[in-house]
Each structure stands twice: as structure tokens, then as C-alpha cells.
């Protein structure tokens, strides 16, 4: 039987959930409402007057070549960030799980990058890969490759993906390790006696039993790649070269705050909101079916 605490009145429970509701209202519902409202207008650059345009902002956006390109960029970017950060994290977690000596040190060191703010992480990577003074650029140069993410679109994308994924590996690693350690050892031993070698065990036992963790991380990482990577992109490439790394959320910023087109920016926010909602619903509806709790 599930234990439930029942309250006599309505005021105490209301009071207890109030902080969360207030925060959600002030920082989510109010701005989201504002965005939806503003997306229907074109304000003048000084914010003194607004002109009603209905869905005009959306019509313009969807026919905009650059905006559509940004969709593709976002898709490529978020898939790469998710796959790289989850893949590397899983690999490290599997190794750490097999470790007997020094696993504590190993774990602590792996968690550190998570404490680095995205913008700082961006600057770190920027310095390493700086086209003139970067250490890594210099070494790559010695190997005969001319690294220049300021001009090369592929290299710019690669760099922001790696920088974004890097800090995320720690987070994913923690969850994967916890997930691995929650799998009963005897189940793995039973599989070993049943004749499954390491990779077969991983494929048929460990990975399926890890699926709740994997699914959770998938949802969280995609949302991360969509929104929280702003700092990394802003410091490393500024969306360039030629918008090659302008993901949707960066375009919201670039069009709204740099280009001062607040109506279009608000419309983009609304579209972004819809995309993430749909993505999350799809994930829960279709992928979660394959999850074994």
C-alpha cells in the first residue's frame, strides 16, 4: 500500500507548493505568455510602439532560408552533442564500473568538468583551439593540418559540439555509473555462466537494464543541447562562420537582441517551445515503450 499523507485544509498544502508555483509562474509562464503575445506584433526598435501583424512573423520566418537552415543546424548539433556526450559517458562508466582500485579518484576527476560553467568551458576550448595561439591548433599544425574554425564551417561545428558535450559527459557519467551499479551483480554472473561474453552481456543484459537511465538522459541531453549550449556557442563561434553554428536558441538571441527584431525573436521562441514540447511528447510516447523499468 502506498502511504499518503492527507491534509485537513487547503492552505497548508498550497503554502508548501507555493514557492515552486511562484517560480514557475514568474520565470516560465509569464515570459512564455509575453513571448506568445509579442510574436503577434512588430515593435519599433525603441519599443515605443507595436503594430499588430497576426501570424505575419511566423509566415516570414518559415519562408526565411536562414531560419530553415538553422533548423537543420540545430538537428545536427543536438544529435551530435547527445550522441557524443552519452556515448563517451557510457564508455567511461562501463570502465569505472569494472574498476576496483582507485574508482573514487577516477569518479571525482570525471565529475569536475560538470562544475565548469558553459561560457567558461567555451572560453577554455576557444583558447586551446584558437587559430593563432591555441595549443591544440599548433600541434595539429605540426601534423600538417591547418585548423581554422573561424573560416571552416565543419570545424566550427565540431568544436562547439565537443565543447558542449565535454561538460555534459560528467553528468551523464554519474547517471550511467549509478545505473550500472544498480544492476544486481548476480544477474551479470548468471549471464556469464549462461555463456554470454562481455559484449553479449552488455548488449542483451546490461544495456536493456540501463534503458530507464538512457531514456532519461536522452530527454535531458536533447533539452540541454537545445538551450543550455548558448554560452558555449556565444563564446566560441558567435553562431558563425556564415551561421554554420547558429542553432535556434542562438538565433533567438541574435535576431532579437543583436538585430533588434523583437517580434521575430518572440515568434522564434514560440516555435522553439513547440518543438521541444513535441519532441518530449514523442520521446515519452514512442521511445519509452522500449524502456524496461
Amino acid at each position: 500500500m502506498e502511504k499518503r499523507v492527507t491534509f485537513k485544509g487547503i492552505w497548508l498544502p498550497l503554502l508548501l507548493v507555493a514557492p515552486q508555483i511562484v517560480i514557475t509562474a514568474v520565470f516560465f509562464f509569464y515570459p512564455a505568455g509575453q513571448a506568445i503575445w509579442q510574436s503577434l506584433f512588430i515593435p519599433d526598435p525603441f519599443g515605443l510602439s507595436m503594430q499588430w501583424v497576426g501570424l505575419g512573423n511566423f509566415e516570414f520566418l518559415l519562408s526565411d532560408r536562414f531560419y530553415r537552415a538553422s533548423f537543420l543546424t540545430t538537428a545536427i548539433f543536438s544529435i551530435l552533442v547527445t550522441v557524443v556526450s552519452m556515448g563517451v559517458a557510457l564508455y567511461l562508466a562501463v570502465l569505472a564500473d569494472r574498476l576496483i582500485k582507485g574508482s573514487g579518484t577516477y569518479r571525482t576527476l570525471l565529475i569536475w568538468p560538470y562544475a565548469v560553467a558553459p561560457a567558461v568551458a567555451g572560453v577554455l576550448w576557444l583558447f586551446m583551439f584558437n587559430t593563432r595561439v591555441g595549443v591544440v591548433t599548433w600541434y595539429i599544425g605540426l601534423l600538417g593540418y591547418d585548423w581554422n574554425h573561424v573560416l571552416n564551417e565543419g570545424e566550427a561545428m565540431g568544436l562547439v559540439v565537443v565543447a558542449s558535450a565535454w561538460g555534459r559527459i560528467s553528468y551523464n557519467f554519474l547517471f550511467f555509473l549509478a545505473g550500472l551499479q544498480a544492476i544486481p551483480k548476480s544477474v551479470i554472473e548468471a549471464a556469464a555462466i549462461d555463456g554470454a561474453r562481455f559484449w553479449t552481456r552488455f548488449r542483451t543484459i546490461v544495456f536493456p537494464l540501463l534503458s530507464p537511465t538512457t531514456f532519461f538522459l536522452l530527454v535531458v541531453n536533447i533539452i540541454y543541447a537545445f538551450f543550455e549550449t548558448f554560452g558555449v556557442i556565444h563564446t566560441i563561434t558567435g553562431g558563425g562562420p556564415q551561421q554554420a553554428t547558429t542553432i535556434l536558441v542562438y538565433k533567438v538571441y541574435a535576431d532579437g537582441f543583436v538585430g533588434q527584431d523583437l517580434g521575430s525573436s518572440a515568434a522564434q521562441s514560440v516555435i522553439l517551445l513547440l518543438i521541444v514540447s513535441v519532441l518530449t511528447v514523442v520521446q515519452f510516447k514512442y521511445i519509452e515503450r522500449r524502456v524496461h523499468y
Binding site: A190, I193, G195, T204, L209
Partner: protein, 338 residues
């Protein structure tokens, strides 16, 4: 069908040795039970046979082949775990078929074998269910099924019944015994429960702190224990140990006389030198357990027929037994035979 031999088997974790050399030759089809209290190394011993623990020194042989460095999967064994270790994301059928699929047994052969096992274990209605939808006893059967479909040379059981309730445990015990008899597969069974050990074993190994104190047929072990530990561990209530010196015997310093509760008779105080006051009696119907405090302060338990009068608390009784039923143990706990 296989023989298993352990030869001076030892296990150390770092500098601490936990198994101090165990030797046994197990005949084909024999049911061996390893029994002992927690921490005596019985599970470690089994896991070394399974290949889940490395062998520090000595040798494990299955069918006269040394398997110390052979992977568990190549030892031709099957193991039933205490928590069953079923694959939670697979159906009962897939749980049982897993090993066969990996061994690339043809599909129709897999189906035939799993169906046969399911029939023996009465699991047919549950083949499509997941383990979490089964009761404890059914999960236990699936674990058994997974072991038998592979037709291994040796069965290993690691306390398979300790997660079941008392009634189910008795039932499953009988099922395991009859299954093992029908299949004739050599089995090693680890338990801390002496009743399981007594009822299942062809021969039992009584482990004490990493040493096999005694290996023998259950009734021989019961009637003729080799050490004080075995005499105290096997049998319920346990053997009474009385200081030999206080009984007026001079054997060696610290020697004890062991006497089983059912061998002591309560007699009028005038007929014997040894007397005690009744602390309390436990009438169990068929028998009565009488707990006494001897006049010199030692404790003793007497098991007597339920039809005999039950002595009242505080009553003083005399204790008497046949000299032949005495067991003498030296200071180190080993048996002294005259």
C-alpha cells in the same frame, strides 16, 4: 554427468586467507551440501567451483579436467542464485532460453527443451510472463528451469531457498531433491540451514571458518561429529557441552563432554550426582524441551518425549545418560576418542 574434485583448495583476499584448504572427491550424480554459519566461506567455495572467484591455490577439477583458469561459461555448469538472478526484462521463456540461444542451439530444439523444463516445473502457464509478475516460488522454479535446460554436468545452488517462506521452502526442498534424483546431475548445494543439509545431502561438508570440519553422510555426521563445532552446529537444539572437570572427569585441561539433548534423561535427584533446576520448559507436543541450569551454573537442554510429565519451573531434577552417548572434545574442539 560428471565428477568434481577439490584438492587443497584455498582462497585469500589480500593477506587474509578465508578458505584454508578443502579436499573432496564428488562422485557422479552425488548431491553434496555445503553447510555452515554465515561467513564460514561456503559461498566462496561454491563460487570458486563456478569460476566466479579465482582460486588462490589448489585445484578444481570437473570430470578430471583442471578448470582453475577456465571461464565459468566453459565449465559446463549451471548455477541457481539466492536472489534467483533472473533477467528482469525477459519473459520466462527467454530467461530459460538465454543460454541456449547464446550456444546457438537450433530454435525448435530450444523450444522443445524449454517446454520440457516448463512441464517438469509446472511453469507452462507462465512462459510469456516477466519475472516480476511471478511469486517467489515461481521465480525459484524459473531459476531452476534455466539451469536444467542447459543440461549441465554440474548444478550449483547458492542458498536457493532462503528467500522463500517456511512452507514453500519445505515444498521446494522436496522438489529439488526429486528433480536432482530424476536428472542424476552432480550437485553442490550451499545452505546455512541444517535441516536442508540433512534432508538433501548424500554427503555434507560442514564448514567452519574456512575449514571443512567434517565431510560425511548426514546421519554419520549427526551421530558421530568430528569436532565440537559440528556437534554444536548440526542438531536442534544443539548438543550440550559440559566442562569435563566439573563433572569430576580428568581428561585434559579444558576438555568438554558433549551430550545430545535427546540422550539425557531426567531422573529423581537421588539417583545421580548431576542435578539442575528447571529454568523453563517448551512443550512442542510430540516432544518437550526442558532448559535447566545445573547447580554449578552451566546450562543444559533436555529433549524428552511429549508424553512424559513436564517438570515445573524451579523444580530440581537429576540428569542421567548412557556413557556410550557421550562425546569428548579436547580444548581445541577436536574429538577425543577413547
Amino acid at each position: 554427468m560428471a565428477t568434481v574434485a577439490l584438492e587443497n583448495l584455498r582462497k585469500s583476499y589480500g593477506k587474509t586467507e578465508v578458505i584454508h584448504g578443502v579436499d573432496i572427491d564428488i562422485a557422479d550424480g552425488e548431491f553434496i551440501v555445503i553447510v555452515g554459519p554465515s561467513g564460514c566461506g561456503k559461498s566462496t567455495l561454491l563460487r570458486m567451483v563456478a569460476g566466479l572467484e579465482t582460486v588462490t591455490s589448489g585445484e578444481v577439477r570437473i570430470n578430471d579436467r583442471a578448470v582453475n583458469d577456465v571461464e565459468p561459461m566453459d565449465r559446463d555448469i549451471a548455477m541457481v542464485f539466492q536472489n534467483y538472478a533472473l533477467y528482469p526484462h525477459m519473459s520466462v521463456f527467454d530467461n530459460m532460453a538465454y543460454g541456449l540461444k547464446i550456444a546457438k542451439v537450433p530454435t525448435d530444439e530450444i523450444k522443445k527443451r524449454v517446454d520440457t523444463a516448463a512441464e517438469i516445473l509446472q511453469l507452462e502457464p507462465y512462459l510469456t510472463r516477466r519475472p516480476r509478475e511471478l511469486s517467489g516460488g515461481q521465480r525459484q522454479r524459473v531459476a531452476m528451469g534455466r539451469a536444467i535446460v542447459r543440461k549441465p554436468a554440474v548444478f550449483l545452488f547458492d542458498e536457493p531457498l532462503s528467500n522463500l517462506d517456511a512452507k514453500l521452502r519445505v515444498q521446494m526442498r522436496l522438489e529439488i531433491k526429486s528433480l536432482q534424483r530424476d536428472l542424476g546431475v552432480t550437485s553442490l548445494y550451499v545452505t546455512h540451514d541444517q535441516v536442508e543439509a540433512m534432508t538433501l545431502a548424500d554427503r555434507m561438508i560442514v564448514m567452519n571458518a574456512g575449514v571443512a570440519d567434517q565431510i560425511g553422510k548426514p546421519l554419520d555426521v549427526y551421530s558421530d561429529p568430528a569436532t565440537e563445532f559440528v556437534a554444536g552446529f548440526i542438531g536442534s537444539p544443539p548438543t550440550n557441552f559440559l566442562q569435563a572437570k566439573r563433572l569430576g572427569r580428568h581428561i585434559e585441561d579444558g576438555a568438554k563432554i558433549g551430550i545430545r539433548p535427546e540422550h539425557i534423561r531426567l531422573v529423581p535427584q537421588t539417583e545421580t550426582d548431576l542435578a539442575g533446576t528447571v529454568v523453563y520448559s517448551e512443550p512442542l507436543g510430540a516432544e518437550t524441551l526442558v532448559h535447566l541450569k545445573l547447580l554449578d551454573g552451566q546450562d543444559a537442554t533436555v529433549r524428552q518425549d511429549g508424553a512424559l510429565p513436564i517438570p515445573a519451573e524451579g523444580e530440581t531434577c537429576g540428569l542421567s545418560w548412557e556413557p556410550a552417548s557421550e562425546m569428548v572434545f579436547g580444548k581445541g574442539g577436536s574429538r577425543i576418542r577413547s
